[in-house]
């Protein structure tokens, strides 16, 4: 293969700057979308376990719709289709006046999609808790909201830390799809370096390494979370 390797390109401006802004955008996009996913996913997950038929059906429909459509299609729907379906004023605001519309559209697409995955984990986490715990709360006079707040959610979250770790990592990786609607995140910046310099191998190697660094950091942080929330005396709980 006749290829002129030039790793130095990665450390030269403006390309180093491209990579840095790419990493920052990827992290911002993933973190904000994760907050959306975590909050909304928790609400939906709780709704699926409520005795109310209406609440659990709404959440079930949400989950089925969002996980049934590919994430890439969601990006296109939110970016190209939804603004046209909204009232004219809103659509115009989205397309013209919203600062950085690509970024915020990506946050919405990624956040709402990941929420359905978080919702399923939260639901499973709650349903795995023996019914006696709820009964103990009821017998103590706790309201349903208090039972969720003090008993079910703390137990469910602890149980699902490992699967949430994987969802949290996935949101960083999935954020790369945002390049399709023009967000200059890490993958898009690597492509940009490639098109300016024709040093595609170096650019994508850099992106690959940076993604790995991000996901490994996530793993380390979540290990800490897991260790801190571990319940004393229950080391061998479920499958462990």
């Amino acid at each position: 293969m006749n290829y002129n390797w030039n790793w130095g390109i990665l450390f030269r401006e403006p390309y180093l700057g491209f990579l840095i802004t790419g990493v920052i955008t990827t992290i911002q996009l993933a973190l904000i979308a994760w907050v959306v996913a975590f909050v909304l996913g928790s609400v939906l997950g709780v709704m699926r376990t409520l005795p109310s038929r209406i609440a659990s059906s709404i959440a079930a429909v949400y989950v089925e719709v969002f996980r049934g459509i590919p994430l890439l299609v969601w990006f296109f729907l939110w970016f190209f289709v939804v603004p046209e379906l909204l009232p004219r004023e809103w659509g115009r605001w989205l397309k013209r006046d919203l600062p950085d519309p690509e970024f915020w559209t990506a946050v919405v697409a990624l956040g709402l999609y990941t929420a359905c995955r978080v919702a399923e984990q939260v639901r499973a986490g709650i349903q795995a808790i023996p019914r006696g715990q709820t009964m103990a709360g009821q017998a103590g006079g706790l309201s349903q909201a208090q039972i969720y707040r003090y008993i079910l959610l703390p137990l469910a979250y602890r149980r699902i830390v490992p699967v949430l770790t994987s969802e949290f990592m996935t949101i960083f990786k999935n954020s790369s799809l945002a390049l399709t609607i023009g967000v200059l995140e890490l993958t898009a910046q690597a492509r940009q370096i490639e098109s300016f310099t024709f040093q595609g191998f170096e650019a994508f190697t850099a992106a690959t390494v940076l993604y790995l660094v991000i996901t490994l950091t996530v793993t380390v942080i979540m290990r800490q979370v897991e260790a801190r929330t571990r319940i004393p005396g229950l080391l061998g709980q479920k499958g462990g």
């Binding site: 017998a139 103590g140 004393p232």
Partner: protein
């Protein structure tokens, strides 16, 4: 204190409680016994509405037990309950287990709740374990904490659903001792148990159930000395002679 009148409960077509009528007077200790599957656990869980029932009427301290709603929640806070499998909250320390309902339901200030908790833990012999989590305790210790948790709400009555059935034999007495002490202090108690020694010592009345029905409901002495029905005689001969 507790009045049950013709309580009927169905699981689909299966009639699990058949017109059960009994009562527990203030300060009285009533032991509910019977073969497994006879409905005694279900019966005691209807008293604070943990199990819904379809027919009949239950009142506690004059207040009707409904199927849901704020009134039921408020009533439950006044009735203590102890479960077969303890059901302590595993993610909380012993101290927090006993404080939780005091602070969030009764709105006691934390310091007051802790003082109350410490007094109760001392009473059940668990004060040295206040900072531990339930998973670090034996079954008997967990059950004593569960009793303290129920007592912390200053209940007007206590319900015990087979409190010693999940315990190793050597731990049964530490729990029964706490319950006996409670009974002698005049607590109103309804106890589902197979511990006939406990029933003989502290019960005032014994309710014997079989197949969803209350078959006998008599004073302790009458029940143990002259059980009326064949089923009760058979049950007693099996449970006492081994």
């Amino acid at each position: 204190m507790i009045e049950m009148h013709e309580v009927d409960k169905w699981y689909g077509t299966h009639n699990v409680l058949k017109r059960c009528t009994t009562h527990v007077a203030k300060g009285e200790v009533v032991v509910v016994c019977g073969p497994s599957g006879s409905g005694k656990s279900t019966l005691i869980k209807t008293v604070n509405g943990l199990e819904p029932f379809q027919g009949g009427r239950i009142t506690v301290d004059g207040q009707a037990v409904t199927t849901s709603g704020r009134d039921l929640t408020r009533l439950r806070a006044r009735i203590g309950m102890v479960f077969q499998s303890f059901e302590l909250y595993p993610h909380m320390t012993v101290l927090d287990n006993v404080c939780l309902a005091q602070t969030v339901v009764l709105k006691r200030p934390r310091s007051e709740a802790e003082a109350k908790t410490e007094a109760l833990l001392r009473r059940v012999g668990m004060i040295d374990h206040a900072r531990k989590h339930p998973g670090q305790l034996s079954g008997g210790q967990q059950q004593r904490v569960a009793i303290a948790r129920a007592l912390a709400m200053d209940p007007i009555a206590m319900l015990f659903d087979e409190p010693t059935s999940a315990l190793d034999p050597e731990m049964i007495n530490e729990v029964l001792d706490v319950m006996t002490e409670l009974a002698l202090e005049g607590m109103t108690m309804m106890v589902v148990t197979h511990e006939m020694g406990f029933a003989r010592r502290v019960a005032h009345r014994v309710v014997f159930m079989d197949d969803g029905q209350i078959v006998e409901d008599r004073s302790k002495d009458a029940f143990f000395d002259h059980p009326e029905t064949d089923r009760a005689q058979l049950f007693l001969s099996k449970i006492l002679h081994h």
